[in-house]
């Protein structure tokens, strides 16, 4: 009896141990078997005495990104090219939705099993991981000279490069050409002209600006543009660098007031703060011609081509106009870099991962993305087939200043306050003074160290 019981216990504990280990050792040995079979069959030049680890075979890299539509296709093609160049290496690609991606990656980083290569937007968000010692410096692995300087700067901290940029976006005001023609409207030169357009559309029961502000970063565009138009291109840098004006500067108050003025003019759809960009609620209004304009990054074109290609003919854009008496100019643009690809420090194959980053941020990928998905290349030497992108690229080339997105430049906690207060402004549940004060308080707490 006793012996039987002991035997059973031993058996159970053995099973337990085996079950726990099988995920790592078991599957590896299986792969070893299949791959060694392939090796002897296909690549006969391979030195048979060489150990499998060194030949670069039977390795898996993981890649996380958030691209959709043609951009996703560009990523997949880059991965294919990489796999062709590196036989035996497989890349597991995970495409994740925008907002969940941010938390998923931080959970993975904290839990110690991040992907080898991951997407970011550079800026404060990437820096958070760099400061935590989770990102590998790849300045020596990639050829940094092929990238646009402004684009590379978002992934450069203390003169060290932590990521390779693929493309850039600017944020214009998109509009429906048909609607503008119908009501005899023209692209505005000044903010007052823009307000006239808002009034005209509103009185004709067309929502002037469609906006899905549950996502918060969408409403942030208005704040960034208006603050820049009042306070000039150095405003944000001074506030962020703590070298002059702060986040409670008069320009921010004025910008917040203008946002609430627009809200009171019914410039936005009902319940903007409940609409989600990822589920397409704002774009549906645009496609259904219920709304006339949308302040959105160039990736809107990617969305349109994916969701309603015939709408592209109606889509025009202009730059956010300057305000009277403000320091900012019409050709100062809000923009950003996306995607930036980086290698995690915990990657078991950092050299291969860096190779993958090179392929992902290559001229080929950037060219495909530019021509198919409507983003401006961050890699030099791309020729644009798409007149649309040529136009966007010209905008960026002619702009005198570029403001990177606040929510990606600021440290995440401060970015969150900026986004929350801006959303509250749209909901009219906070006064302009309260909102800017809250951001400044958080900035003091986090930046004045």
């Amino acid at each position: 009896m006793k012996k039987k019981l002991m035997f059973l216990l031993v058996l159970v504990s053995l099973l337990f141990v085996v079950a726990c280990n099988s995920t790592s050792s078991g599957s590896d040995s299986e792969k070893d078997n299949t791959d060694s079979g392939q090796e002897t069959g296909s690549s006969s030049e391979n030195n048979s005495g060489e150990s499998k680890g060194d030949s670069g075979a039977d390795k898996t890299l993981t890649l996380w990104h958030i691209e959709t539509g043609p951009s996703e296709e560009a990523i997949n093609q880059a991965v294919e090219r990489f796999e062709e160049k590196n036989p035996g290496v497989t890349v597991e690609v995970s495409q994740i939705e925008n907002d969940p991606y941010k938390s998923k990656l931080s959970v993975a980083m904290g839990g110690g099993n991040p992907p080898d290569v991951f997407h970011s937007w550079g800026g404060g968000w990437l820096k958070q991981f760099v400061d935590a010692g989770q990102v590998r410096e790849i300045g020596n692995d990639i050829d940094t000279s092929i990238y646009n300087e402004a684009a590379l700067s978002v992934a450069t901290f203390d003169d060290k490069v932590y990521g390779a940029p693929v493309s850039m976006d600017v944020v214009p005001v998109f509009y429906n050409k048909d609607i503008f023609a119908k009501y005899d409207l023209e692209e505005p030169e000044t903010y007052d002209e823009l307000l006239t357009i808002v009034e005209t559309l509103e009185s004709n029961r067309i929502i002037p600006f469609t906006l899905a502000n549950q996502s918060k970063w969408t409403g942030s565009f208005y704040m960034m543009y208006l603050a820049e138009r009042f306070g000039g291109p150095e405003l944000f840098n001074e506030a962020f660098g703590r070298t002059g004006r702060g986040f409670d500067d008069e320009a921010y108050v004025k910008a917040a007031e203008k946002i609430q003025e627009l809200v009171k003019m019914n410039a936005f759809p009902d319940g903007v703060n409940g609409m989600n960009y990822d589920t397409g609620q704002s774009r549906q209004l645009l496609y259904a011609e219920k709304a006339g304009m949308q302040v959105m990054g160039g990736w809107l074109l990617n969305n349109v081509r994916d969701e309603m290609p015939e709408f592209e003919d109606k889509l025009g854009f202009f730059l956010f106009p300057a305000v009277d008496g403000g320091e900012g100019k019409k050709n100062h643009v809000v923009g950003g870099v996306s995607p930036v690809f980086s290698v995690t420090k915990s990657s078991e194959n950092p050299d291969l991962a860096a190779e993958l980053v090179k392929e992902l941020a290559s001229v080929e990928t950037a060219e495909y993305m530019s021509n198919k998905a409507g983003s401006i290349s961050a890699v030099n030497g791309v020729e644009y087939e798409d007149p649309y992108i040529q136009k966007m690229s010209d905008v960026l080339a002619n702009s005198e200043a570029m403001q990177t997105y606040y929510d990606q430049t600021l440290p995440p906690e401060l970015a969150q306050v900026h986004l929350d207060t801006t959303q509250a402004l749209f909901g009219l549940s906070m006064t302009p003074e309260e909102a800017v004060k809250k951001v400044e308080e958080k900035a003091k707490e986090l930046l004045d160290k």
Binding site: M1, K2, L5, L8, L9, V12, D99, K102, S103, S106, V107, M109, G110, Q128, F129, D131, A132, G133, Q134, I207, N213, Q214, K216, P269, D270, G271, V272, N273, G274, M275, N276, T279, Q281, Q284, L285, A288, K290, P412, E413, Q416, D420, Q423, A424, G427, S429, M430
Partner: protein, 314 residues
Amino acid sequence: MLEKVEKLSAQQVTTSTLIKKAKKRKEILTIVGFIAPALIVYGVYVVYSIFMTFYYSMFDWSGIDKNLVFLGLDNYIKLFQDDIFWKSLGNNSLLVITSLLTQIPLGLIMALLLFSPIRGMRFFRSIYFMPFLMSTVAIGILFIFIYDGNFGLLNGLLGAIGLESLQQAWIGNEQTAIWAVIATVCWQFAPFYMILFRAAIVGIPEELYEAADIDGAKKWQRFKNITLPLLMPIIITSSILSIIGSLKYFDLIYVMTGGGPNNSTELMATYMYRQTFTNFNMGYGSTISFSMFMIALGVTVVILLGDKRRRGEE
């Protein structure tokens, strides 16, 4: 009594105390062998995790690096001064109350309806149970579109019956957002309690109803004097499930509003998530988690004590 008899006879059979001891040891070993797997899993994933949450709650830590700064109970002091935390606790209480007042009565009504002689009962049974079978994310996205202010189903319905004045952006408006989400939560969970009650009603002996019929009891009297008292234990269990579930609720809020607009639908769990994974405050997030745990524990203890006293009175 029976046990005692068995023991006595066993004693008579075993003459040696040595054998008895050995047998006892074996028994203990068997018990340990059966309990151990569950105990290990429980220990690692529940007890240890709770302890570690408390441990982390005393640090300023981002959650992604190795740089922990000891703060003692500072995080808890900060928590008590945090308006958003109090707001979320208020929302949780609101969810607890509305869940108790709608999910359980609704579940009971649906369960009773399923026993009434209506044609197509099987059809209704499936329909009633449907919401519980759907994935939460799907429900969330479905209701986002139903509540949409511009082309939503709900506003369309209101317009069709001439109630345009009530039309609004249900989850975009700070006043209505929490109610819109709570309605969805109740819609999703009422069928769960329906199933529990249905099972309990089936278990009520038919003889009691027959006796009531002989005594000339009316339908309402039958319900009040037989069904309801006999359902009491399951109603209490359901209430505990509902209260605890509401206190730690997360998913639909996360999908539908993300705690917004302007924190108006923030719950403790979504706020904890936001602090931990969006703002990189693992330490503060753990403080919120641990407080959530203490609140849920406190509420459960109070309910169980109350239930014990009630039983004692009976």
